[in-house]
């Protein structure tokens, strides 16, 4: 049991820190989608040129080949530095890329991995469908083999960033007669493929990064199937374990920043009775509790990484982290409303970020698997309770 880093790791940390200080963009990320895309790609290019893209990806495909601890150190320093979040780069870097590394063939790796790291492309994820949300394996989007191509017809929903993406990881049904988990394939699809229609969805927090995507006899080469035909369920399960592994490090540190900012806010905000918010017992105890919970989020992340390092693969414990973190974030934003009081009614001004965060927080306990589904997974896979 130790929290020590070796001298080499500490030196590595200095390097990361210095480089990020010198190179992180000084201007904020633009809100507009197209400008945001350009900003994200430019930053990814800077990371690539500086030798910091794909920290734990193999060198052969443009990555740095660093170990888990270097990755951990990098992610911690990255989040602390205030460098831009992953935004549109998220999918390629954390989901599609790692899946291709784990399950793709040589050709797929050579074609698709380097452009992600070089900041040439944005990826999105076409998994969910109107009638296949939590029950993802019931997806219906049909793919028929025709010569050396698949012909895809159907529709997807909730595809984040679809209209700004170049590529998509798409789940399709290649065998309608097989049991539902056994007839699915994971394919790589171009977003400008003929026969596709993309419509943005406007979300409750004012964004429009979610989409419906329709497929009308869209042709995808068979060589774009990753991990073998009808093997897509296994491939996407490998992916969910990345999603619930170190991918949380940045948002864990983000959560820490948020709670500290909120405590600071409470020290400087007057309630309607004239007292400082921090002097209100109810608010103070809630804030302290959130601070404690946020602290344990860090410890849980470190324990999870230690466990993965020993066992060589992420276990179902990742679902505990996902559940804990998303529910915690929601509680933080609710307490924030209590602190800003009537100012919660204004999305503009100095305190506007808090009601805005509250509106956005609903996404966390839905996207990437709902809290209820996380509790099912914990109950069934971690505790061994029957379905």
């Amino acid at each position: 049991m130790n929290l020590d880093f070796t001298p080499q790791q500490l030196q590595f940390r200095e390097q990361v820190r210095d480089w990020l200080q010198a190179h992180k963009p000084s201007e904020p990320r633009p809100e507009d989608g197209a400008e945001g895309r350009a900003f994200d790609l430019a930053w990814q290019k800077t990371l690539y040129t500086g030798g910091w893209a794909g920290i734990n990806w193999p060198k052969a495909y443009g990555g740095q080949g660093f170990d888990t601890f270097q990755q951990l150190i990098f992610l911690m320093e990255y989040a602390k530095s205030g460098a831009p979040g992953d935004h549109y780069r998220f999918n390629g870097l954390n989901l599609a890329g790692p899946t291709i590394i784990a399950c793709g063939d040589e050709e797929q790796k050579k074609t698709h991995l380097p452009p992600i790291l070089k900041g040439d492309v944005i990826w999105c994820q076409g998994f969910s469908e109107p009638s296949a949300g939590s029950d993802l394996a019931s997806l219906k989007t049909r793919a028929i083999v025709d010569g050396d191509e698949l012909i895809v017809t159907g529709s997807k929903i909730w595809t984040s960033w679809a209209r700004f993406a170049d590529w998509q990881q798409l789940l399709v049904r290649t065998d309608p007669d097989a049991p539902k988990h056994a007839g699915i394939s994971w394919v790589i699809n171009r977003m400008d493929n003929p026969g596709m229609e993309i419509r943005p969805i406007h979300d409750m927090a004012g964004g429009s990064d979610l989409h419906e995507v329709f497929y009308d006899e869209v042709r995808i080469p068979l060589r774009n199937i990753v991990g073998g035909i009808n093997n897509g369920w296994r491939v996407s399960m490998a992916q969910l374990s990345f999603e619930r592994g170190t991918a949380f490090m940045p948002s864990q540190i983000e959560t820490q920043k948020t709670i500290e900012e909120l405590i600071e806010l409470a020290r400087n905000t007057r309630l309607d009775d004239g007292r400082l918010a921090i002097d209100d017992d109810h608010i103070a105890f809630q804030l302290a509790k959130l601070r404690a919970e946020t602290r344990s989020l860090l410890a849980m992340t470190l324990l999870g990484i230690s466990r993965n390092e020993r066992s060589g693969m992420p276990g179902p414990e990742g679902s505990m982290l996902k559940l804990f973190q998303s529910e915690l974030y929601k509680r933080i934003t609710t307490v924030a409303l209590d602190i800003v009081g009537a100012d919660r009614a204004r999305l503009s001004g100095l305190t506007g970020r808090w009601p805005q965060a509250f509106l956005g927080s609903f996404a966390n306990t839905l996207g990437g698997g709902t809290s209820e589904v996380m509790r099912n997974i914990i109950g069934e896979r971690y505790l061994g309770l029957p379905k």
């Binding site: 880093f5 470190l302 990484i305 020993r310 505990m320 099912n376 109950g379 309770l385």
Partner: protein
């Protein structure tokens, strides 16, 4: 960086678990009210022979030479097996006397020849702890105890139990523990260790948190076992989501507290600024976890959970009692909010 126990640390866990299961099976406690004497003097000596009472003391003080990380692992097992808090009294008493240069007394404590009761300050008491103590206290396990240990954020003191005036025996919420209240007015102590030298109050906080984690884990394990075997509506109840989701919530609390316990044992031992921040966070989380898990376990066990035939109620009660030792949830949350930000 590796937050998991090493092989050697895992051995401490395994040895403790099997010793406790053999020597102190929990069903001993069923139907035996007020078993203050569960750990008799002979038992205490036997435990002492395992080196447990001096596990975290340096070898130059005749301890085993392990650190806080090993100590917390032992205390999780003690908590899981509902071992009495006086064992924590012995461990802290050994440390207090050792660091105060009282080597003879320390030896007797580490050998299990002396039993140390823990006391908490009662609500409304104007407590003073120093070279002499004053205040109104509640003493856990006063029977057979020789010494009394009291502590607050300023320091910790050890004094003869007889030197305070105890009233009639009170009844404890946890029927396996005796309690009596006591009033002290400027009672001189045998030794006093200011927190600047060694913060026994926060060390106690961390070790009680470990015991609370033991309770959270024990009640989760019992609930999961029961949910896998009890059938209603033609299915095991663990297949109902209401039950499954309770269990998942209990599991998350265990994971969170265990992670924090390991983390805290390191930052506190290293005397880093994060040590206090972590200890206060840990205690608040551990109390919540133990109480949520134990209380929920009763619900999961249905009517049987409400009876004395099962042991779940003992955990509910112990969780309440332990929560009062070394500062409750409110105390630690208040203190946590005053701490500066840590990395």
């Amino acid at each position: 960086m590796d937050l998991l126990p090493t092989q050697e640390q895992q051995q401490i866990i395994d040895t403790a678990a099997s010793f406790l299961a053999n020597e102190f099976p929990i069903n001993q406690l069923l139907g035996a009210p007020n078993s203050d004497t569960r750990v008799s003097r002979e038992h205490l000596q036997k435990i002492a022979q395992l080196g447990w009472l001096g596990i975290g003391l340096p070898e130059e003080l005749q301890g085993v030479g392990y650190g806080l990380s090993e100590e917390v692992l032992l205390f999780v097992e003690l908590g899981r097996n509902l071992m009495p808090p006086s064992l924590l009294g012995s461990v802290l008493g050994g440390r207090l006397t050792g660091l105060s240069g009282e080597h003879d007394r320390m030896r007797s404590l580490l050998d299990g020849d002396i039993k140390v009761a823990l006391a908490i300050s009662l609500p409304g008491s104007e407590t003073k702890i120093g070279e002499s103590i004053s205040g109104e206290f509640l003493i856990y396990e006063p029977h057979e105890a020789d010494l009394l240990l009291v502590a607050d954020e300023g320091g910790a003191a050890l004094l003869p139990l007889k030197s305070v005036q105890t009233t009639e025996d009170d009844r404890c919420i946890d029927e396996t523990l005796g309690v009596s209240s006591a009033i002290a007015k400027n009672v001189p102590v045998l030794c006093y260790l200011p927190a600047e030298n060694d913060n026994l109050f926060l060390r106690g906080t961390i070790l009680v948190s470990a015991m609370l984690l033991g309770i959270a884990e024990a009640t989760l394990a019992r609930s999961v076992d029961y949910a896998k075997q009890r059938e209603q509506f033609g299915k095991v109840i663990g297949s109902f989501q209401a039950i499954k989701h309770y269990c998942a919530e209990m599991a998350v609390r265990c994971e969170s507290v265990r992670s924090m316990l390991y983390h805290t044992s390191i930052t506190f031992q290293a005397q880093s600024p994060a040590g206090v921040f972590d200890a206060c966070s840990l205690k608040a989380l551990a109390i919540e976890a133990a109480q949520y898990n134990a209380n929920t376990a009763i619900q999961i066990h249905g009517g049987m959970g409400f009876t004395r035939e099962m042991d779940i109620h003992l955990f509910v009660k112990r969780a309440q009692a332990l929560g009062t030792l070394f500062g409750g949830e409110r105390y630690h949350l208040r203190r946590l909010l005053c701490e500066p930000v840590v990395d």
